[in-house]
């Protein structure tokens, strides 16, 4: 960041996340303690009162996500942070946030395993839950940071997306990324783009939930003189329940169309040497950090290898992977789960391509050595 006047500090990933949120204008945090996310709550508890924001520790994760939805409807940028078991409890009202079109950010610092699992172990166990954990067709955007710097940057981005498209955005780091300490560049005010939701002055015929030309509805904040009705039921453009099949269909299709209509905003990946690659390593979050090292060393040995890392994992960047698959015949997908992204990659590149998973579910990392060993097996 040459020429910039910000500062670079040594930060834990979780601290960087909380600082990114405050930078993005987050002024409400409701949460419940859970390893390995708790440092985020602790940071907010110290900092939010000093900037006029609200920190509240709720009675459980259900109440936490409920409270941030309430604060968001009242016009305050809001966030919660949790880990797998708490994220499971939040699924109910993650759906509510999507249907109310309430912008909220939910951080899920992933541990390992199902149920209580391995609380201090790292994992990528919630890739599918983050997208499909709540019932019904609903839009949600999921970002996967791989470094402490990205914990800051992608938190800002998560708020921007959630405000712009009025939907819940999930930040999905692994425990390791939450706890890693790295140098983080903190930009000055105004250096990074910060978006706020649109707040129209007037609404035609009280149609608070009518979508604009970009497919986004802009219902008013509570207490601003408009008197909207928000409901988790399928609703018409006026916000009131409808059971009319045509209108129910328009509601669900319209709500979900936000993802497709904004695919440019929602496509964010990093890739290395994929243009002519025959073998591509596809991975997200911390697992991806070893992949580019491996593919570069393979290149030196004459193997046409490349690496691909989505920073926005949902919507999944299948369009780009399809292009890459025109040359590549083999995809290697290292994950800290039993293959949640592998099947997604297979769908994207087609059943005729070879897609091989490298999976660890022991709460530890896929190190360079371990991963390289597995990659060699695939190549032989």
């Amino acid at each position: 960041m040459g020429g910039a006047k910000g500062r670079t500090v040594l930060l834990q990933g979780n601290e960087a996340c909380a600082m990114g949120a405050i930078y993005a204008g987050c002024r409400f945090f409701g949460g419940y303690p859970i390893t390995p996310s708790t440092e985020i709550a602790e940071h907010f508890a110290r900092k939010l009162p000093t900037v006029g924001g609200v920190f509240i520790q709720m009675e459980d994760e259900i109440a936490s996500i409920s409270a941030i939805i309430g604060a968001s409807l009242a016009g305050v940028k809001s966030m919660t942070a949790t880990s797998g078991p708490g994220f499971s409890l939040m699924q109910e009202n993650l759906g509510l946030a999507a249907v109310l079109e309430a912008p909220v950010v939910i951080v899920n610092i992933m541990r390992s395993g199902a149920s209580t699992g391995h609380p201090t172990g790292t994992g990528q166990a919630d890739l599918m839950q983050s997208r499909w954990g709540t019932h019904g067709d609903h839009p949600v955007v999921v970002l996967a940071p791989a470094t402490a710097q990205e914990m800051f940057d992608l938190t800002v981005k998560a708020f921007n997306i959630s405000e712009k498209l009025r939907l819940p955005v999930v930040l999905l780091p692994e425990a390791v990324v939450g706890h890693i300490r790295e140098a983080v560049y903190i930009p000055t005010e105004g250096e990074m783009e910060v978006l706020d939701r649109k707040r129209p002055d007037s609404y035609e015929n009280l149609l608070f939930f009518r979508r604009d030309e970009n497919g986004v509805a802009h219902p008013p904040d509570l207490g601003t003189g408009h008197r909207p009705h928000y409901t988790g039921l399928t609703h018409d453009e006026d916000g009131f329940f409808t059971a009319e099949p045509g209108k129910v269909n328009a509601f669900t299709v319209g709500l979900n169309s936000k993802l497709e209509l904004h695919s440019d905003l929602l496509t964010d990946y990093r890739e290395d040497a994929v243009e002519d690659a025959e073998i591509v390593m596809v991975s997200f979050g911390v697992t991806a950090r070893v992949c580019s090292h491996i593919t570069r060393s393979l290149r030196k040995k004459g193997v046409k290898a490349g690496s691909f890392r989505p920073r926005i994992v949902w919507p999944f960047p299948e369009k780009r992977l399809k292009q890459i698959a025109q040359n590549a015949h083999t995809f290697i997908v290292p994950e800290l789960n039993l293959g949640q992204m592998r099947s997604t990659v297979q769908c994207a590149v087609g059943q005729d391509k070879r897609v091989v998973g490298i999976n660890r579910v022991d709460g530890t990392m896929l190190t360079l050595e371990r991963t390289l060993e597995e990659v060699k097996k695939v190549l032989n």
Binding site: I62, A74, G223, P228
Partner: protein
């Protein structure tokens, strides 16, 4: 103001009539609540009414204010976020006995404990009406419901005692038979600074009544009338089986309200930062 006009003022006439069954007490309850709004001249633009799921929670659709119909049991934590986000708003919570005593019971005790300035109207018909009459935590022992066809083995909560012991600072109970009292208590609850809880018994002749040999509204209202005992703290009396107190049961104006405390905390924290610099 003539009776009609406060109803016109505080209800969204474009979405009437209501979905409620003939004989249901919710119409009376809604009148009680909006009458109290009108008596206190509450500004609709600054009024937020939050509800959960069930027959009573549908009320927010009809009230002309800022309204939020949330998920089952979650009205209180959503309302907590709204109140903390914008403490200057008047935040009212309407929920049923399923919402408040079953699925959202944990939220009820914690919201009481915080003493946050929310006005809770818990509308208790002793069963799950929306899903056609299942047993609820407020169904009396040995009464009947579709999921206890041989009689209820469990016992109902004493909700008012529960929220009082959890820390609520205004607690009252009334019924749809006691309209005038209901309006008075609703006004008191709205004026109270802190967590105010008003439990309102209302009749569900369609389901609860049908299962318990009270198939019309007058029979159920008579049941309320005959069993309600006006509470007088000077003269507590032994309640007979089936009897319950009505009236203001508890008020404590000594405990600080949560958003006030939070505001003071922010000032303290900002001052500490200023001094440290």
């Amino acid at each position: 103001m003539p009776a009609e006009s406060f109803i016109k003022k505080y209800l969204r006439q474009r979405v009437l009539p209501t979905i409620w069954c003939g004989g249901c007490g919710l119409g009376t309850v809604m009148r009680v609540i909006v009458k109290a709004f009108d008596d206190l001249k509450i500004d609709q633009d600054k009024l937020v009414v939050v509800s959960g799921i069930g027959c009573s929670s549908r009320m927010v659709g009809y009230i002309d204010a800022n309204t939020v119909h949330t998920t089952h049991g979650r009205a209180l934590p959503v309302a907590t976020g709204i109140k903390l986000g914008r403490p200057e708003l008047e935040v009212v919570v309407i929920m049923g006995d399923g919402d408040g005593a079953a699925i959202g019971g944990n939220h009820l005790i914690h919201a009481s404990r915080r003493n946050i300035d929310l006005n809770v109207f818990l509308l208790n018909n002793g069963n799950y009406g929306m899903t056609s009459g299942q047993v609820s935590p407020m169904t009396p022992h040995a009464h009947y419901a579709s999921t206890c066809p041989f009689g209820n083995l469990e016992h109902a909560f004493h909700l008012c005692d529960m929220v009082k012991s959890a820390g609520a600072t205004y607690v009252a109970r009334t019924t749809t038979f006691h309209y005038m009292q209901g309006v008075r208590l609703a006004r008191e609850a709205l004026k109270h600074k802190g967590f105010a809880f008003l439990e309102i018994y209302f009749q569900c002749p369609t389901y609860y009544g049908r299962f318990n040999k009270m198939t019309d509204a007058p029979t159920m209202l008579r049941w309320f009338k005959e069993n309600a005992v006006r509470y007088n703290p000077e003269k507590p009396r032994e309640l007979k089986k089936g009897q319950f107190y009505i009236g203001k049961l508890w008020e404590d104006n000594t405990k600080d309200e949560y958003t006030d405390l939070y505001c003071k905390l922010c000032n303290r924290a900002a001052e500490m930062v200023r001094v440290a610099k």
